[in-house]
Amino acid sequence: MPDLHPWEVPRRYDVVVVGGGPAGMAAAVGACEGGAERVLMVDREHEAGGILQQCIHHGFGLHHFKEELTGPGYAQRYLEQVLEHDIDVLTDAYVLDVDTARTVSVLSGRYGRLSVDAGAVVLAMGARERTRQAIRIPGTRPSGVMTAGFAQKLVNVAGYLPGKRVAILGSGDIGLIMARRLVLEGVEVVGVFELMPHANGLTRNVVQCLHDFDVPLHLSTTVVRIHGGERVEKVTVAPVDEALRPRMHEAWDVECDTLLVSIGLIPDNELARTLGVRLDPVTTGPVVSSTMETSRDGVFACGNTVHIHDLVDWVSQESRLAGEGAGAHASGRRQAHDNVRLVPGTNVRSCVPHTITTEREHTVYLRVTKSLAPCTLRLGDVYERPLRYVVPGEMVTVKVRPRFLESFHGGALRVDVVPREEAGA
């Protein structure tokens, strides 16, 4: 954004994008492509890029840029596109509220309180990490207990180490990646403790982040108590039985000065909630149409605020679409109404978008409940596709083409992922 006086900041934009992570950046570019002329992207951080700026590891962009990039590398590539499109970027600015008239209230470090009217709004606030409170670990409340993602930001961006001896609860990818990060920074990682009998993160992260550095992974084990006055002194851990109840007589103490909690992300849906947008009880993000529009007219949503993604490439793809929808909406173009509702069936936890049309091609993103290999993905009785494997940690994407739906005349289409019959395999 050029240097302006507070009273010079435009008060009306075609599209306002809330959040400048990969979702927000792609939506802003999409909005321009969808016909919007004036687009504003707002982020509370000092620079755009979202969580990518702290994910310094590789694994981004293989699909989108056909090249394996680090998080900051991906962010920089995308930000270049944003700037080429003449999008106004306002950082150090927090969006307080979006109302039903699509007036966006912003608290800006530079301009103070602003109120901006938008032809369409895109919600792209990302996700939050679940905290110690979410699982109620008993004990004292010393300093040194934090989420793994916060520690990641401390280490990779701010340049501080969270402690000297670190225990990690939860084996999601963020926890695993942080174990390696800390070892490489000279911190002792005393172990990763996982409630479930299997690691939650990708196998490649278990190998490259734990095995490579002899960091012990304790499966079916959890932290049952945190000890310490000012600072964490130790944690008590215990194995769990099949019902996931700790077996306290087998508990042991682990000395550490820091506990990182890596137990998952949840969509940041606060703005959506106050706006009265309909939410999906499973994803906890907004229910969205095939153009990523929420139940509120002209309010779109994309990225982790809708459902938790593991690949940023899909975030960019989905968000581009949301932006295009917002751009079209702002320029008064209406798209065909959705006429098919997607219903998660056997072994499908969630589907996004929630509705599609028989007119256009769609990418549907789904998550399964349990691992299967090999298996078949089925859309009602109109389409099926063999899959080599599915795992809950990896989103499945499927392209739904109009011709699959030619013979379909219902309102609801069930999505199942079932074991593949030997004979047909």
Binding site: V157, A158, L184, D212
Partner: protein
């Protein structure tokens, strides 16, 4: 004489458990791989395991305290920790552009370490 070792294939999320029969560095047979990329992985992992390394380096004069960096190619696995130690000694000065080499031929391995983002002067 061949000996059996075990590896987890990290080429895709399936994470096959590989059983590898080898005579010294020579891989004779690979079992447990669901696709042929597993064989390639087993060969490399058995004779010359390598890893990409990403870490940060101290930088002054920039809006951030750390510059993210990465090896341009995979480095022998047993040099990873040494490389990070060496990178800890570096003190860079902004500006830095994405792709700039911050350490050439790191530890004599022939592998360069490059910046993975640009940082302007604050």
């Amino acid at each position: 004489m061949s000996e059996t070792s075990h590896y987890l294939c990290i080429n895709c999320p399936l994470g096959c458990r590989l059983e590898v029969d080898a005579a010294g560095d020579e891989v004779v047979e690979v079992r447990g791989n669901a696709c042929k990329r597993g064989v390639e992985f087993a060969r490399q992992e058995h004779s010359d395991p390598r890893r990409m390394v990403t870490t940060t380096v101290a930088i002054s004069g920039a809006p951030l305290a750390r510059l993210p960096v990465a090896t341009a190619e995979a480095l022998p696995k047993d040099r990873v920790v040494d490389l990070c130690r060496a990178l800890h000694q570096l003190r860079l000065q902004a500006p830095v552009a994405i792709g700039d080499v911050v350490m050439a031929d790191a530890l004599g391995t022939g592998v360069d370490v490059v910046a993975t983002r640009s940082l302007e002067r604050a």
